[in-house]
Symmetry: C2
Subunit: 208 residues, 2 copies
DNA sequence: GTGTCAAACTGAACTGAACTCAGGTTGTGA
DNA sequence: TCACAACCTGAGTTCAGTTCAGTTTGACAC
């Protein structure tokens, strides 16, 4: 049950919100969102199904919350990794490496995010779902802008050949996140190798 | 309603299978699989909901069929594009270009495939669903093998530096298909530009 | 032309998972 | 020790997907 992390601070002392999020990440990550029964998450936390509705308006609201939190974490990690880097190539390398410096739990969150990104395209009818969706969309936009900025800076400094920075940013992002579609911990290729290979790909894509 | 394409040949003279597939592609592509009601597809074709079950065992069976057909089409296109190319770099370029030489209807199919790939990971209980899932998985494996082969050949001929060809193939595929997540016809960047940019990225990733 | 039969279809009923309702319990903090 | 908000529950509702028990249709043989 691991009542750890994911705390957003605004919870009561006997709140199970964090436990629900953790359980949901494990279920959604392993069986997929549609593949997991909402009641199974309740069972794993040790409460009745209806108790879930005290914390989340709907099952989708929980999913969107997980996605938003993961986007926030990803973006913070990017910001932290690139903060000190003055050389554009080094900044690019740091950003790519940061994307793969994740725990197994975070891998699940990336996978969930990846597999349900299309949810963000269509408006939701439930109020809280829509709020989370908007927040997630805004984070996606900011992350795209972060990458575009990194590329634009590198191009204006002459470190990267000039190309459409926005489309190139999308391509880099697509390349990096696509890893979570097939990568499995304990698989044939260790994550460190994947990380090195993708880092090199990013640099060659952009800087040559 | 456009009773065109997608015919697999083994249908009766008054079959609406092709019309259902076309309508389903349009609905699933625009609103997402979970976002479209199965009855809405029936409505678009002009039949009652229950008539759908004459052609597909379940809604998911229809989705898996669409995905399998699109994988088949993609693979054929790869094979045709790379057939005559003896130079590895030219073969790589041709493969990348072929991936973007698609109609608007095929773009929808790529999007559907992309958004529901995680379905292929977990076994299905329905017999026909499971058959389509196995076929789709096999096609994915073959497509990965096609790319790996292309890379291995280029490396052994000295046209590409030696790197893990399987992981690099996954990266190329991930880069290419990730485009369908954000690309929209009539958007700011025309597909021809995207195609050129991604083609260049592929070559730099692999050949430098 | 006419009869046959599988293919094609239908309205009514069923199912199961997400969700609502109308309260009951609990433990924190005043 | 009492109040009350946070937390929880079992019983019921809803609705999309699916099954059932047939009816209609039209291609083809004769």
């Amino acid at each position: 049950m691991t009542t750890a992390r994911v705390s957003t601070g605004d919870e009561g002392p006997r709140s199970k919100r964090a436990a629900i999020l953790t359980a949901a990440v494990e279920c959604f990550g392993e069986f997929g969102f549609e593949g997991t029964k909402w009641s199974a998450v309740a069972g794993r936390v040790g409460i009745g199904q209806t108790a879930l509705y005290h914390y989340f308006e709907t099952k989708t609201h929980c999913l969107l919350t997980i996605m938003r939190l993961e986007l926030q974490r990803s973006r913070d990690q990017f910001t932290e990794a690139t903060a000190g880097q003055s050389d554009p190539v080094e900044a690019l390398r740091a950003a790519a490496r940061a994307a793969f410096a994740v725990s197994e739990h975070e891998i699940l969150q990336m996978r969930i995010l990846q597999n349900n990104l299309s949810l963000l395209a269509v408006p939701r009818t439930s109020a809280k779902e829509e709020t989370e969706r908007q927040a997630a969309r805004e984070l996606v936009r900011q992350i795209e802008r972060d990458w575009t900025r990194l590329l634009t800076r590198g191009m204006s400094e002459g470190a990267f050949p000039v190309r459409d920075p926005h489309t190139l940013g999308q391509a880099l992002l697509g390349l990096i996140v696509s890893v979570w579609r097939w990568y499995r911990p304990g698989g044939p290729t260790p994550l460190s190798e994947v990380s090195d290979l993708i880092e090199g790909c990013c640099v060659r894509m952009v800087a040559e």
